[in-house]
Amino acid sequence: MITLSYVTSVIIFCIGLYTIMARRNLFKTVLGLALMESAILLIIVSSGYIPGGVPPIEPFMGPAVNPLPHAFTLTAIVIGASDIALALAFIIKLQRHYRSVDLDRIRGLRG
């Protein structure tokens, strides 16, 4: 069951990376970033899973799941959110100047 979640997270990671490279819209780039971010979250959480585990709240009713990945995932989610928020802010300001979010037109700095 866990290898299944690893497979899906790797696939989603690759989909995210592909969206960043293949799409010309800036929003798609940020969406790709969000996808890659979520894939890594899935990898970390499913790495701490114990078959037949119990959530790590104190009165364990069985073999508790590894709590450390949960702490990292919490941090990673919030970091990803602040990254995406910043990226969106940049996109809004940049759209003011370029009047478009097409990557082929946002090529002012070259050479």
Partner: protein, 496 residues
């Protein structure tokens, strides 16, 4: 105790600035100056503690396996010194240029300072990722601070590439955690030996890519010229001089601790990346006509030199890398401050238009000449000595091509720096007296920036001469030894 203060004091200063802003509209320059001094003295205290008696401070009182550990040994104290001097100079320039007005700039600056000290002192891999994230977000915002469309575009590209780098570092950290269950860097360096081969390739590939994107080495350097050339003067000086060095420290610390025994080809890859960056940076700088972009590409090349030093995986190599990053900080910050002031004064950044400066601003041009002679590697100055140490270590490690690349780099950098200098010295059209342009707009001369550039130039000369004395060479080789000696680091952290 002093290690935690080096991180917490700048953060508290950053949190206090909005509160002060609520009290008064524009913050007094002296207030920010005092805060700057306090946080710099905190980081210098940490550097002092780390230099003479390598120190470990357990956060929250937990043992290294359980909680987070802050470690200060000679390598991190050397880089603390670099960031301290660099950010102090950048803060002084920013204060002189902006005054107290943009208080958010200073809040982000102090956050950057705190996160830099965090990266340099942390002994925990995930904590390194978190501080790296604060460091990068603050860097994106400082790049975009001037709000011009170039700065915003450079900020966005830096953000997207930086976030992809951070994601790969997070992926590498996730893999190491899955393989070993530990996150303390010292314990990891022991546990990584038993990790299977494929996982080790995945870990090393992800970490090396993430850190290389952050340092701006050649294949993934695209954000660096845009960011460094479109940022403000003080910010681009800070970016080139200090921020790059912190990423290089992270690369050194991770590679020396994890991959020294387990995966030797990482250092070969770093040498190849270094040589590529050196050549690519110099060649691309040769074709630039915007002075700040030229200096930015020259930074890419100098990063290549440092990476060649790191790639030798030897004590001499690490010492040469640290010495060159210190020299490069001095040289590049002076160059950026001088170039920034000169181009602001003339209103343009085209090299061919920055003429007639020898008469108008002789001291700036003199400082620029000495520093560019230093960065090219002309003998009496320190650039020559650090270049020599890197060539020595790369020949010692048996690789000849990087040494030849550095020799070729000297020639190419001499070519493009001379093009800039000949433009500066050539008699500009402004010689014939233009009644309207020069008289009314008497820009108040930048005393602080001029003293900084002058003192950096003097420092370069002194270091160049001092590097001959065995006394200073002993210092730098001790840094190299501590960087490479993984056993001592692990013993220090775990107290065995």
């Amino acid at each position: 105790m002093t290690l935690v203060l080096a991180i917490v004091v700048p953060l508290v200063a950053a949190f206090l600035i909005p509160v002060f802003h609520l009290a008064r509209k524009t913050l007094p320059v002296s207030l920010i100056g005092i805060m700057g001094l306090i946080s710099l003295s905190a980081s210098m205290a940490a550097a002092y503690a780390g230099w003479f008696s390598p120190e470990v401070s357990l956060l929250g009182g937990w043992a290294p396996e359980i909680g987070i550990v802050l470690v200060a040994d000679r390598l991190s104290s050397a880089f603390l010194l670099i960031t301290g001097i660099g950010s102090g100079a950048a803060l002084a320039c920013a204060l002189e240029k902006f005054g107290g007005g943009p208080w958010r700039f200073y809040a982000i600056f102090f956050l950057l300072l705190g996160s830099m000290n965090g990266i340099l002192l942390t002994g925990d891999l995930f904590n390194l990722f978190v501080f790296y994230e604060i460091f990068s977000v603050a860097a994106y915002l400082l790049v975009a601070f001037s709000m011009s469309w170039q700065a915003l575009e450079a900020g966005l590209k830096y953000l997207v590439l930086g976030t992809i780098g951070a994601l790969f570092i997070l992926l590498g950290t996730a893999f190491t955690f899955m393989a070993t269950g530990i996150l303390n860097m010292a314990l990891l360096s022991e546990a990584l030996v038993s990790v299977p081969r494929e996982t080790l390739t995945a870990i090393s590939a992800c970490l090396v890519l993430g850190l290389t994107i952050k340092t701006g080495a050649f294949p993934v350097h695209f954000w660096l010229p845009d960011a460094h050339s479109s940022a403000q003067t003080a910010v681009s000086a800070l970016l080139s001089g200090v921020l790059v060095k912190v990423s290089i420290y992270a690369l050194m610390r991770v590679c020396f601790l994890f991959f020294l025994e387990t995966n030797g080809t990482v250092f070969l890859a770093i040498t190849v990346i270094g040589s590529l960056s050196a050549l690519g940076g110099h060649l691309m700088a040769l074709r630039q006509d915007d002075i700040k972009r030229l200096l930015a590409y020259s930074t890419v090349a100098q990063i290549g030199y440092i990476l060649i030093g790191v790639g030798c995986a030897s004590a001499a190599g690490a010492a040469a890398a640290v010495f060159h990053s210190f020299n490069h900080m001095l040289m590049k910050m002076g160059l950026f401050i001088a170039a920034g002031n000169v181009s602001d004064e003339k209103g343009t950044r085209e090299i061919c238009k920055l003429t007639g400066l020898w008469k108008e601003k002789p001291f700036w041009v003199l400082g620029f000449t000495v520093l560019s002679a230093a960065i090219v590697g002309i003998p009496p100055l320190n650039g020559f000595m650090s270049k020599w140490f890197i060539i020595l270590s790369s020949a010692g490690a048996g690789t000849v091509i990087p040494a030849l690349v550095i020799a070729a780099g000297t020639v190419i950098s001499a070519a493009y720096y001379l093009r800039v200098l000949s433009a500066f010295v050539s008699p500009g059209e402004s010689d014939q007296e233009d009644p309207f342009k020069s008289s009314p707009r008497k820009v108040r001369s930048k005393i602080v920036s001029l003293t900084i550039v002058g003192s950096f130039a003097m420092f370069c000369l002194a270091l160049g001469i001092m590097a001959f004395s065995p006394f200073s060479r002993e210092y730098f080789s001790s840094i190299g030894r501590t960087a490479v000696d993984v056993g001592a680091y692990v013993g220090l952290v775990t107290g065995r």
